[in-house]
């Protein structure tokens, strides 16, 4: 019996070995290609995900919802505690609401006085979370909206409350959101009320640390963290979370978005801020465009001067 097995291996051995070597070379080549021409391979990856994951949609969503229901059911067990807790919170919220209404009125008054236009182009597209990254070291989720819905790389993504992440990788019907907790995520933030600028650097933990704070002593736990809009990555003023001090004495941010259950996400349609590209030229006198049909022959005379 043993001899038989050896004979078989001897017969198939060389062919198999060649196959293995070819496979290994192909895999190395794939990796090198990815390293050299990352965008192309990543586009291929996005297209592949686009093909594969929506097919699993019929199973992904029900299973997710079923597990969610089981967890929701489990939370009924402590419904009494929750109720008292909610009542207490509601009391606090009423006080806050009062404050908010007053502030809103004040804010509206001040805005009217200054004639400020808040970013009018900030609209959003909503999507459902299809899948997560499937790897413990990558924090990203897949949304069911893609280039078909006008999603563009780099747009900010929020849940109901706070910033969640940024679009990175768009397929036709899906797009990937790199969460702020991913170790490759870096976004510029402002800590209020002190106005300190910092970077929020994801590190695969649920509360990413603040980096490059100029004077950390001005920042205390509980301060609000909002996106600063520096570098044009995100629109300014989106709520990120609250400062908290971690066990390692570093300043971290507790996220406002509910990372435990990301369900529906809003992708903010942000447009790049207009840049002034050319150096200043002399301001020409405005030529009325439509009127001078009749005066056309007279017009050419002043024109060369405007160019100089």
């Amino acid at each position: 019996m043993a001899r038989d097995r050896n004979a078989e291996i001897d017969f198939a051995g060389p062919v198999r070995r060649i196959l293995i070597v070819v496979l290994a070379l192909a895999l190395s080549a794939t990796f090198l290609l990815w390293r050299i021409d990352s965008p192309r391979v990543e586009r291929f990856r996005a297209a592949l995900v686009d093909k594969v994951v929506p097919n699993m949609d019929w199973a992904l969503l029900p299973v997710t919802k079923a597990v969610g229901m089981v967890e929701g059911f489990r939370s009924y067990a402590r419904i009494y505690e929750q109720n008292t807790e909610l009542k207490r919170e509601l009391q606090q919220m009423k006080a806050w609401k009062e404050a908010a209404v007053q502030l809103e009125q004040q804010n509206a008054k001040l805005l009217a006085q200054n004639q400020v236009r808040l970013d009018p182009q900030l609209t959003s597209v909503s999507g459902v979370v299809l899948a997560d990254s499937g790897s413990p070291f990558r924090q990203s989720v897949l949304l069911n909206v893609g280039s078909r819905d006008g999603i563009v790389d780099g747009w900010a993504t929020m849940d109901g409350l706070g910033l969640v992440g940024r679009i990175s990788g768009v397929g036709k019907t899906t797009s990937r959101v790199i969460l702020l907790t991913d170790s490759t995520s870096r976004i510029p933030v402002t800590v209020q009320p002190s106005g300190q600028k910092a970077m929020l650097a994801g590190d695969n933990s649920s509360a990413p640390p603040l980096e490059f704070l100029e004077s950390p002593e001005q920042v205390r736990p509980g301060d609000r963290v909002v996106s600063s809009g520096d570098g044009g990555v995100f629109p300014a003023g989106l709520l990120v979370g609250q400062v908290a001090q971690g066990a390692d004495r570093r300043l971290r941010v507790r996220m406002a978005a509910d990372y435990e259950r990301l369900d529906f996400l809003r992708v903010l349609r942000s447009h790049p801020a207009e840049r002034i590209t050319d150096a200043g030229v002399l301001i020409p006198p405005e030529v009325p465009p439509a009127l001078p049909v009749a005066e056309a022959p007279a017009a050419p005379a002043p024109e060369p001067e405007t160019g100089g």
Partner: protein
């Protein structure tokens, strides 16, 4: 008429791919998007190695490569690299599968642990050489630990639930009977 050995072999090959699809599906479920404190074990790697050591003919290299390349693509890993190391590791174990059958399970466990550790280090080394940003050493080592800890469970599960037995075990049982 398909001969039963071939039928059995193809059944298990299909089972391997189906298990891979199921595990990948479960991992993609967006149940909790909070980063895990302790990364879960890489069950697919455990299954691959356990099966390669028991029935090398049930897990052809092509199936292993296909499964891990797809996993690379969907799990946002650098495509091809981890699949390459899994292929090399499984080939290494495949060559020694016959010799390992006589040894106690502890020896097999130690060998598999060593192979996994070497694969992990090689993976990190290559990524560092071509300067790809990667996660810290701590979480990856933790995942290695959980994977190594899950290995005996995977072996027991494939033995009991899926009826996967090494040919040697079968022969031994027969001779005893």
């Amino acid at each position: 008429m398909i001969d039963p050995v071939t039928a059995r072999r193809w059944t298990y090959r299909a089972l391997f791919v189906a298990l891979a699809a199921l595990l990948l599906f479960l991992r993609l479920l967006p149940l909790s998007t909070l980063p895990a404190r302790i990364p879960g074990p890489d069950l697919m790697l455990c299954i691959t190695f356990a099966w390669v050591l028991r029935r090398p003919d049930f897990v052809p290299a092509l199936a292993i490569v296909a499964v891990f390349v797809i996993e690379d693509m969907l799990a946002m890993r650098p495509p091809g690299l981890w699949a390459l190391f899994v292929l090399l590791g499984s080939e290494f174990l495949r060559d020694r599968a016959g010799a390992m059958r006589g040894l106690p399970f502890l020896a097999e466990w130690a060998t598999v642990t060593a192979v996994m550790a070497i694969m992990l280090l090689a993976n990190r080394l290559v990524l560092a050489l071509v300067m790809v940003p990667q996660t810290g050493l701590g979480p990856t080592l933790l995942q290695l630990l959980t994977t190594v800890a899950a290995y005996p469970l995977v072996v027991a599960a494939s033995h009991l639930a899926l009826g996967l037995r090494a040919p040697g075990e079968l022969d031994g049982m027969r001779s005893r009977a």
